[in-house]
């Protein structure tokens, strides 16, 4: 692809120590939250990052933001590895990579007015030129009324609060916004409003989003490409329609079949592929392919060999032994509908 890369991840790992003993000084185990994740985000694209709770998608988002320092690996923004910078050096980069949090109730300071919340990033970045004009403009851009600027967060509804969160992320004119489940606290009719807003802003300002979500239907609506995580690893990645029409990894297939479609006629014809059990603990992940204990298509080699993310079709990498050329080809997957 000839497009401009905004952010490049190279073999990012994030392990959290599990401590015990007197004053918890002994490290007894590690939570392997993110393991060997590499991908690029291109200018102006939305990359959907999907997975179940505990799969490491939020941790990965925080690693990009350097709110967590990755255990190893590189996070490259314009060729600069953010992991090697100290807080002071990071500041100019923080302007370019912003975040929208999940809970619009917890992520806004209740003692700040809307204007204070939106202008705080300007204060931190020491930008004082035309501050008021910028705030007024951004309030309008996210669809709030000018008189709301002096209100406090509790006076806003959930959807409006999320608009505030978006305004705060937008005011520094970032290249990339990490959206960490920005819709999950909202009702369906409000979700649609925010999805449309995010889409408009992307077109207007040419921003890239990393859209972290567990809702596969919304991800299809908003994303250009989709990456799917399971137990800290990216197991499949593809262009949006390709991903939903021709899922390759058995986990992707199961996940897609589990999502009910709001249409009784379609539902009557669909079969659910139920997975056995639940997601194992990331402290002690299974050997080989981490998905093998739950995989309906697992075979003898799966517990022994860690499948690498390799391109099976152009722009469609998968981490599954079924697609290695040395193994027999699996039968083609059916479409989800």
């Amino acid at each position: 692809m000839a497009e401009e890369i905004v952010l490049q991840l190279n073999h990012v790992y994030k392990h959290f120590p599990v401590t015990s003993g007197f004053f918890r000084r002994k490290t007894v185990a590690e939570v392997k939250a993110v393991t060997d994740v590499s991908f690029n985000i291109y200018k102006g694209e939305t990359l959907g990052l999907v997975g179940e709770s505990g799969c490491g998608k939020t941790t990965l988002g925080k690693c990009i933001l350097q709110l967590y320092r990755p255990t190893s690996g590189e996070v490259l923004y314009q060729g600069q590895d953010l992991c090697r910078l100290d807080e002071e050096q990071l500041r100019p980069f923080r302007q370019k990579i912003q975040v929208i949090f999940q809970d619009p109730y917890d992520s806004l300071n209740p003692r700040f007015t809307a204007a204070d919340i939106i202008s705080e990033p300007l204060l931190i970045q020491r930008i004082s030129d035309g501050k008021q004009a910028k705030v007024d403009e951004i309030i309008h851009t996210v669809g709030l009324a000018p008189y709301m600027a002096e209100r406090y967060p509790h006076e806003f509804s959930g959807g409006q609060r999320q608009r505030l969160g978006i305004a705060r992320a937008l005011i520094l004119q970032p290249d990339l916004i990490i959206c960490d489940e920005p819709l999950s606290a909202l009702d369906v009719s409000i979700q649609a409003q925010i999805v449309n807003l995010l889409d408009d802003l992307k077109k207007k300002f040419n921003i890239a989003y990393l859209f972290i979500s567990h809702d596969l239907s919304i991800v299809r609506q908003i994303s250009d490409r989709v990456a799917i995580m399971y137990l800290g690893r990216v197991v499949e990645m593809a262009d949006c329609d390709e991903f939903y029409e021709r899922p390759l990894h058995p986990y992707t297939e199961a996940l897609l079949s589990a999502v009910p479609i709001p249409d009784p006629e379609v539902e009557a014809r669909r079969a659910v592929m139920l997975l056995k059990g639940e997601v194992p603990s990331p402290i002690n992940p299974p050997t080989g392919c981490v998905f093998h204990p739950r995989c309906p298509k697992a075979f003898a080699d799966c517990p022994n060999i860690v499948p690498e993310l390799t391109e099976v079709m152009p722009g469609h990498p998968v981490a599954c032994l079924l697609y290695k050329s040395s193994y027999p080809k699996p039968e083609t997957n059916s479409k989800i509908a």
């Binding site: 009719s189 979700q191 299809r220 999502v259």
Partner: protein, 332 residues
């Protein structure tokens, strides 16, 4: 098929310091034997209160069931004494709550909580109850049930706790299960496991199910009939397939259009419903959806009291613009 449950003109209000919250305003619905019925709506529309009122689980004060009848197998549950309703709860009508961590007692073992319900309704000794509890845990797919009955709720994962809740709900073979957003706290793969299991049990035991949810996909997959609620009222109801295929209330239309679909490519724009649901303290006159409605012409909508009108057999809508099945607006 007779009605197992018939709710007639139920009104439940909450008397708070800020004013009277009109959570449920004269709703009526029925559940047939062995049928799965969905109560759908956004948060605050009164769907949970509408179902909790059945078992009189509304905290009183501030809540109060002001009027209505709840006929369960012909008996009015609102007229029963405290002891009598206690005999219905869990035994004939049971509940599955949304958040299993807060609805299970953290200081009692799972086995103890399961056998408590059994012993309350059946004349059995504690040993039999314990064996029964183990059997129930096996039924809901909890591995090593003999060992896990001694565990406490915090030893279980979210999905496992919800399995325990289901075990508790089916323990006395009730005639009706009320499931209040049973899968909002769990992931999609676990959601599929749990809902398939609940469906299995309702079919096996011929149990009726009231499924309270905001997930239209879940409704499409599991419910035979759907009741759509908005601002404390039922605005449309009918057989699921029909309501999804040809909705006759602008709110249902908006709701269906605002959810993106997994099986369809990206749409240019999602159709959203402008504005927000009304504050139930200051509900507007006439149709509550009117301020957000794109079809409203400002005429009769604001004056006329909402009334459910039969559009086609079994399919009702409260929209005055959909009178007699003649739509002033079109679906697509």
């Amino acid at each position: 098929m007779g009605n197992l449950l018939e709710v007639r003109d139920l009104t439940t209000h909450f008397f708070t310091q800020d004013g009277v919250v009109k959570a449920v305003n004269g709703i009526s619905y029925t559940v047939d034997e062995g049928e799965t019925v969905a109560l759908v709506g956004e948060s605050g529309c009164g769907k949970t209160v509408g179902a909790l009122s059945i078992l009189r689980l509304i905290p009183e004060p501030p809540g109060k069931i002001l009027s209505g009848e709840i006929l369960f197998q012909g008996k009015d549950l609102l007229k029963l004494s405290r002891q009598e309703i206690q005999q219905v709860r869990g035994a004939q009508i049971s509940m599955i709550f949304q958040e299993p961590l807060t609805s299970l007692n953290p200081v009692l073992t799972i086995g103890r909580q399961l056998s408590e319900a059994l012993q309350a309704h059946k004349k059995i000794d504690s040993q039999t109850a314990r064996d029964e509890a183990i059997k129930l845990l096996q039924m809901v797919g909890i591995p090593q049930a003999e060992r896990r009955v001694k565990d406490y709720p915090h030893h279980f994962s979210g999905g496992m706790r919800q399995r325990v809740m289901i075990a508790m709900a089916i323990s006395c073979r009730p005639k009706l299960i009320i499931a209040d957003e049973p899968t909002t706290a769990v992931d999609v793969t676990v959601q599929a496991q749990l809902l398939e299991m609940i469906r299995g049990f309702t079919q096996e035991l011929n149990t009726s199910l009231i499924l309270i949810t905001h997930n239209l996909g879940v409704v499409a997959r599991y419910a035979q009939r759907i009741y759509v609620m908005y601002a404390g009222r039922i605005v449309e109801y009918g057989p699921t397939a029909e309501v999804f295929h040809q909705p006759y209330h602008p709110y249902t239309v908006g709701l269906l259009k605002s959810v993106p679909r997994l099986d369809q490519p990206k749409r240019e724009r999602l159709q959203s419903i402008a504005g927000q649901p009304p504050d139930l303290i200051y509900a507007p006159e006439g149709c509550a959806f009117q301020p957000r409605c794109v079809y409203c012409d400002g005429g009769q909508c604001s004056i006329q009291e909402e009334k459910l009108i039969e559009i086609s057999p079994g399919h009702f809508s409260s929209c005055v613009l959909a009178k007699g099945g003649v739509l002033i607006w079109q679906k697509r």
